[in-house]
């Protein structure tokens, strides 16, 4: 299990390949990647991601540990970036490894749902119209209820 909160970009292919190669006994690897998307009506210049050093790493470790136990994972990886990102850049990834695909898929969704509203990150979008904080959505909070 590994969590990383970092400013630097990551290589999705390399990270996925390294993660998968360590698990010859596990048949299912699921990965999810979040990417900075452009704003259709108001071109995005950049996205700035703020976090809470110390708490963020601890919160991610706790989420990954919970996922490991709850979904009988063989391994889990969470990488989340902070700082200034451009449209098209990768923001974060999760990877899960399990014996069967259901656990791997569900664990990845569980991690994403918790990351959205329980990991201390805040996003700010900067466009020609100015800067605005991304507002959390009610459905993100509701998504936690199914777990």
């Amino acid at each position: 299990m590994r969590v990383s909160v970092q400013e630097a970009p990551f290589d999705l292919g390399q990270e996925t390949s390294d993660f998968a190669s360590g698990h010859k006994d596990l048949g299912a690897i699921v990965t999810f990647t979040g990417v900075v998307r452009d704003l259709p009506d108001d071109p995005l210049e950049a996205m700035e991601i703020e976090h809470y050093p110390g708490m963020t790493e601890a919160a991610l470790r706790e989420m990954a540990q919970t996922a490991m136990e709850r979904f009988s994972l063989g391994d889990a990886l969470v990488i989340h970036r902070h700082g200034r990102l451009l449209p098209g850049e990768q923001i974060m990834m999760v990877a899960t490894a399990a014996r069967h695909r259901k656990d791997a898929f569900e664990a990845a969704e569980f991690l994403m749902d918790y990351l959205k509203s329980r990991a201390p990150f805040w996003k700010r979008e900067i466009s020609g119209k100015g800067a605005s904080w991304v507002v959390s959505k009610d459905e993100d909070e509701a998504a936690l209820k199914r777990w």
């Binding site: 809470y52 989340h80 923001i91 990991a119 805040w122 909070e141």
Partner: protein
């Protein structure tokens, strides 16, 4: 104790962190004390339903006691992922 502010709470108050000497018994008491200081605090804390709090880096709530606490952080709902 150290009081930390993130995202728009940091922008409204104008500081990322500060040291506060307080006898406040709970987070809610601390919020009342800070809000009474200056308009920028009152504005930042005007709607507690739009805020989250972490006590010693654990998500908590406004009724949490502050006895022995070293760090309290205020921020809007998280938007990770």
């Amino acid at each position: 104790m150290d009081v930390l502010y993130f995202a728009w709470v940091r922008e409204r108050i104008g500081l990322p962190r500060e040291q506060v000497q307080t006898q406040a018994a709970t987070v809610a008491d601390l919020v009342a004390e800070l809000s009474a200081r200056e308009e920028r605090y009152a504005l930042a804390f005007s709607d507690l339903s739009a805020l989250r709090v972490a006590v010693d880096q654990e998500l908590s709530d406004f009724s949490a006691p502050l006895d022995g606490v070293r760090e309290v952080a205020f921020f809007p709902p998280m938007t990770g992922g």
